[in-house]
Symmetry: C2
Subunit: 213 residues, 2 copies
């Protein structure tokens, strides 16, 4: 088993022991509510708690419109993934991931229109996002732009993982995403971030590989 | 001001508003203990809480042996930084950052000796770590190896940021680091991770730039 990229015995031992503890902590946090989640959702919750050492995420993660199933299918079809920041891009174990935040055109548009680079990068990636997967772990403005593309420009991503972090606008952006009928995974409140986003999408990629094998 | 890489008015507004909230939350968490930290340390704490939306970090961060001063000096001297994972490498705003976890030789050593790749990558980077800066946000075994290099091979980094995340070995590795007389920044307990590591080192890099200007 290649859990969390571990190839050594030490790496596997740590991963397995950690898994046990993580499962126990999730049970403590969720209590009876653990039955509201299916096995695949619980697997994703495990990965997020593993990546953050923060069991509170078991209460914060929300799965809407069968996002895992839609994500697995999209990954099997080699669907492109668009991310808001490069840290997320390099963390994803998949060879069709794109991030345009450092693209010169994105930089120009952001400066000219007075919008964030992350926001401009989503507008720039519009054609990839239509039918694609979006993974946002940092920028609420990027997520607001994806929501706008969906509502106003009829763009239809197969999955939006929207877990921007922060005390300003992050909660609101995720709340707005949850209202759409697009498959989405979010967190409630200000928490989120790169490890949360990466562990969710890598979990879905791992499911897609398992089903393919 | 180029706070958190924001170049747009939107980006700056979010960053400034967030800063206010973050400062308030840190005060709530620390109470009178806020006076134990100097201004630069509080700046780093702010960045970490900003990056995680988790005010608990104000209670978890530990600064030992003047790590910020040592780090600023090292950055001004263009000292190399070694990281445990690529996600941290790409998040750091500095042009002398190295990560060897994907190096073929590191892969071979890890497999042959049954150790983690992160651990093998620190051994591989020994010469850079001597007099260098280490930033570990994920792998406890990488941090244990750096501690071993310091104790057994007389390697002397200018600064070790050791914030591996996880329920297995992470706390212990950080506890061991705090016992050394090397400048170090750690978190108490299992919490830590990529955004914590990146926000700490980027804060120190920002201080170094400010002082240079």
């Amino acid at each position: 088993m290649d859990f969390m990229g571990a190839i050594s015995k030490d790496g596997l031992n740590i991963a397995n022991k950690s898994r046990e503890i993580v499962r126990k902590k999730i049970k403590e946090v969720l209590g009876d509510k653990i039955n509201q989640f299916n096995e695949k959702e619980l697997g994703i919750i495990e990965r997020v708690v593993h990546a953050t050492a923060d069991p509170e995420y078991a209460k914060l993660l929300v799965f809407k419109n069968n996002p895992i199933e839609s994500g697995i299918k999209a990954i099997k079809n080699k669907t492109p993934i668009v991310t808001d920041v490069n840290m997320i891009k390099v963390g994803i174990r998949y060879d069709n991931v794109h991030c345009y935040i450092d693209h010169p055109k994105v930089y120009d548009v952001a400066k000219k229109e007075g919008i964030t680079r992350a926001m401009a990068s989503m507008r720039f990636a519009k054609d990839l996002i239509d039918g694609g997967i979006v993974v946002i772990g940092n920028s609420p403005t990027a997520l607001f732009e994806v929501i706008r593309l969906i509502k106003e420009e009829n763009i239809k991503p197969k999955l939006v993982i929207g877990v921007p972090v922060g005390f300003v606008q992050a909660s609101e952006s995720k709340e707005n995403l949850r209202k759409l009928d697009i498959p989405n995974i979010t967190t409630i409140g200000p928490k989120g971030g790169t490890p949360v986003a990466v562990s969710i999408i890598n979990g879905i990629i791992a499911y897609a590989k398992d089903e393919r094998a």
